[in-house]
Amino acid sequence: MEFGIQTRGHWTDVLAIARWAEGREDMAAVALPDHYLKSADEPEAPQWDHLVHIAALATHTSRIELMSLVSPVTFRHPATLYKMAVTIDEISGGRFTLGLGAGWMEEEFTMFGLPYPDLATRMDMYEEAMAYLRAALTPGAHGFEGTHYHLDEFDPHPHPIRLKLAGGGAGGPRARQIAARYADEYNLYATTPEAFAKVVNATRDIAVEIGRDPDEIFWSSASPGVAAKKEADYRRLLEKAAEHFDRPPDHLETRLDARGYPHGSGSKPAEMIAALEAAGCQRFYVQTFVLDADDTSTLDDMFDAYMGR
């Protein structure tokens, strides 16, 4: 299993986390979410543009992969996504993965006046944007004609060095179709290994049906990081996470167990990771939104627990 860290926040914190990850050879990637509103309950919390952060991270790092996990399709026209992504690809020397999804936090769209059509339409837009991006990123004049987006039949420049497209979503039939067709990476939010394997298999079947090598799809997952080597440290993290999610710690723990989010102390986190790996997951992004960026000893301990070190 490969590991990534998903972080967010003020630039200095994001940079500190990226430098920490770059310094740990067993870390594969740094991922940032794309939201203009932290949550509906915290409307005054500052938010930044994640692609701007990632472009700047590209200048400060040299090894680690950078990822957008994931960007809601109605924030930016696919032309802008293509141009920003391919510029980040160039600055980073081919270390960027652009993730796309349908968007879900309704309040951020309504507050900022961004379009938020019904889910079926957003899924249509997500599919068309993925098709548009695939056409724009594949050297040659391909073009794309959809209901929402259009790309003339010409060869857009620059060509990417090694820009990857990731699909998000909860793993429903529509999202599987889109990932099977267009995604280099499919990020499925953490779920039980059984459910994960079901989506992997169904998506691979679709890929075979449409004549694509199913091994081309890289499988990843993400969930909140609540793990430590020692039980007392885990309990402390659980309390912090419980406060963040606004629920009692034991309630949160029950939920983590029920949903299959890797967590716990001792050998449990690594065992849960191993079960996800057996279900087909190749990379796990640990979300560390509740940790301070300078608390690298807690970060190290958490990842050691997940990695079974």
């Binding site: 005054e44 938010q47 930044w48 543009d49 200048t59 930016r76 160039e90 006046g113 060869d155």
Partner: protein, 303 residues
């Protein structure tokens, strides 16, 4: 007179070339490094046109002193929410060094090719004005509210900019200078003869009243350190454009662009200064020829 460097990377130019130009401008003490925001250069799609905000994001961290500028971003490319978040993020990472130029968008070809909606001029102007209102509201006190026909905002928008300056640019004689005078920190227009510049600036000042708005121009130079060097460059440029040196010189000169030897350029700069121009963005197109850029900027500045 103050100077900035204006580049056009939709004609090509890697991030590293843009960075080298920006670092040189920084080492020379120029006010800012500016670049356009276009996705195509006419009908030819092959130049590697990078994204303005992604490049400025990198430059925010790879430079330390110089201001960095987008001149100008078309409101057709991005929803004003995205412009606001891109700008405030770059502002914070750069320590308050972003100059944000916003315009209506004009190159229909790039919109067609990439399928970006390009409404007619009245609607683009209306969207432009609303985008400015939206951006003003977002940069102002919370809760930020704006309710227009095209855009709406009702949010706490954090962080606020530390020191973003806004630029309104365009060649028009009336509407653009009036709008810039009323609401921008800077009014920018393309190089023109000094008497025309004076008229435009007067319109802007009239609209600005007590507001402090900087008047700037942007345009190219065709210059040489002496008559021989100038004639050589002029001949090369003329043959590239398939015209005669005399015709090209006349066209440049009639339009108020910088031509000739240092003393002649110095006269043009002095005339612009007299007309009220406070800063010149010297436009340099070919990022493969940074030597030519350095020579040209030095001549115009020295002149």
């Amino acid at each position: 007179m103050e100077f900035s460097l204006m580049t056009e990377p939709h004609l090509g130019g890697t991030y590293d070339q843009q960075l080298e130009a920006a670092r040189w401008a920084e080492s020379e003490g120029l006010v800012s490094f500016a670049r356009c925001d276009h996705y195509l250069s006419g009908a030819d799609p092959t130049p590697d046109a990078t994204d303005a905000f992604a490049v400025l994001a990198g430059l925010a961290r790879d430079t330390t002193e110089i201001r960095i500028c987008v001149l100008v971003t078309p409101i057709t490319f991005r929803h004003p929410a995205v412009i606001v978040k891109n700008a405030t993020t770059i502002d914070q990472m750069s320590g308050g060094r972003l100059d944000l130029g916003v315009g209506t968008g004009w190159m229909d070809l790039e919109h067609q090719a990439y399928g970006i909606p390009f409404p007619d001029w009245p609607e683009r102007w209306s969207r432009f004005e609303e985008a400015l209102d939206y951006i003003d509201a977002a940069f102002g006190d919370d809760p930020a509210k704006f309710n227009g026909t095209h855009y709406s905002l009702d949010a706490n928008v954090q962080p606020k900019p530390a020191a973003i300056r806004t630029i309104i640019g365009g060649s028009g004689a009336k509407r653009t200078p009036t709008l810039a005078g009323r609401r921008a920190d800077e009014y920018n227009f393309f190089l023109c003869p000094a008497e025309q510049a004076k008229e435009k600036i007067a319109v802007m000042r009239e609209a600005a009243g007590d507001r402090n708005v900087e008047a700037t121009v942007m345009g190219p130079a065709l210059v040489g350190k002496d008559e021989n060097a100038y004639q050589e460059r002029l001949a090369r440029a003329a043959s590239r454009r398939d015209t005669s040196p005399d015709d090209l010189e006349k066209r440049y000169s009639d339009n108020g662009l910088f031509v000739g030897t240092p003393d002649r350029v110095a006269e043009s700069v002095a005339a612009l200064e007299e007309a009220g121009v406070q800063r010149i963005y010297l436009q340099w197109l070919d990022l493969d020829d940074l030597g030519g850029m350095r020579d040209t900027v030095s001549i115009v500045r020295g002149g």
